[in-house]
Subunit: 240 residues, 2 copies
DNA sequence: TTTTGTTTTAAACGTTTTTTCACATTGAGT
DNA sequence: ACTCAATGTGAAAAAACGTTTAAAACAAAA
């Protein structure tokens, strides 16, 4: 069964960002701007996960969260807010949210958190229905294995010691073999949208990543440069 | 989405005034005093809007405006000046500023103008995103395949090694089979408007492109010359 | 706080691409 | 065939880009 997620968010840009990146995971999206309408939908229909912005026209995300929680105690809810204030966070969790993301969030964070909720939901369903399966998300290409669960990377049975950023970078590139990403795109998907940092930073990380995964860092076969464009993951570089 | 605005202004008081009143709108601010550094930032990083004072140490705001506009045609720019002279205003707009404010300005005016630019930016982003939902990412004509995702070009299953410019040139021509483009038009669409260079450059690139894709570069069948007019892509040249 | 490790920024350096230019060639009109 | 202007060619200069290294900023842990 394809999971369905209700996104309640008034910023069209963020909503689209979420849509694109969840659809990529094979998740169906419904988008609602108005708080009141969203509440109605959330109560009437079935969604695997609710993604609620806190600041909304019509009704606060916190209100929606509380009312949904009353009627549907098992509903998975992730709160979403621009504020970074601790009070909101605490309040959100107290009102029954299962998780919380502060904007700006990276695409990977978004996917990870939603996936985490889906796993929980599926586990519950499995427990009650005594059936079901939850696919583990790990990348296996050639002799490269990237496991996001354990955050481990193995190349030819050799465990690599990557930092968090290096891992995300490699994971994102490897998730889209052969696709070229500009430094700007990488900043958006790995660091988070509208991340303000120099594109130069990407070079630095690519450099260190290569030092760890390439046999010969001066002639990269796995993470390759596309001149004047960006970087790409070359699956042939890890072919068995 | 939190928008970020770069304020380039050497008067600390004004800079603070701007900061306070834009933060109030939920906008993130970066402040830069020196013109040269500001230009670097503006080119390397991403900002929703640039607020440029004209009189600056290091480099004039007009120069910054011009140079940013060349590299980032879509960047929203608001010029800022103490002078009330019409010439500056005209000059600023000619150099590609989107809006103009003369000091002293009211807080309401500041907020209104910035918000107006943000609206435009968001609208554009939304428009391009929607357009990008069903993107013609790859071109397939005869035995020629051009893939934007991977930035790869295959001719008769043979992978061609094109530079970024060569790729764009071929892509643009192939996107409009049989349509003749003048060198000037090509400069505009491939290099970008406001490009200051000789039309002769196009010849050079066509030349190198032909050397790579044509069987016989002296008798081009794919990228053909239309005497006295320009160049065109001939689909018959790659027919199966 | 100190220490350690990571991330970001900056600068120096080497490479590739782009541009430019001089000259050769081609095509249209006479 | 001749001439003129448009186009093609190839090589050198200039610019753009990418890598590397080191240092600074930052954050986490001891």
């Amino acid at each position: 069964m394809t999971d369905k997620v209700l996104v309640v968010e008034d910023d069209i840009d963020i909503a689209n960002l979420i849509r694109v990146n969840l659809v990529e995971l094979g998740i169906e999206i419904e988008h609602e701007i108005d708080g009141q309408l969203a509440l109605k939908k959330a109560l009437d229909k079935h969604y695997s996960v609710l993604l609620l912005d806190i600041m909304l026209p019509g009704m606060s995300g916190l209100d929606i969260c509380r009312q949904v929680r009353e009627k549907k105690p098992e509903q998975a809810i992730i709160m979403l807010t621009a504020k970074n204030s601790e009070t909101d966070r605490v309040l959100g969790l107290e009102l029954g949210a299962d998780d919380y993301m502060t904007k700006p969030f990276s695409v990977r964070e978004l996917q990870a958190r939603v996936r985490s909720q889906l796993r929980k939901v599926h586990f519950l369903q499995q427990a009650t229905q005594e059936q079901g399966l939850s696919p583990e998300k790990a990348i296996n290409i050639g002799n490269l294995r990237i496991d996001q669960q354990t955050h481990q990377v193995k190349l030819a049975e050799q465990l690599l010691d990557l930092t968090a950023t290096e891992f995300e970078l490699l994971f994102h590139l490897a998730s889209h073999p052969n696709q070229v990403f500009s430094r700007c795109q990488l900043l958006e998907s790995v660091w988070g949208y509208h991340h303000s940092g120099y594109e130069h930073t990407v070079n630095s990380h690519i450099n260190r990543l290569r030092a760890k995964i390439e046999l010969d860092a001066t002639a990269p076969r796995i993470v390759q440069t596309v001149w004047g464009v960006g970087y790409k993951f070359n699956p042939q570089g890890v072919a068995l």
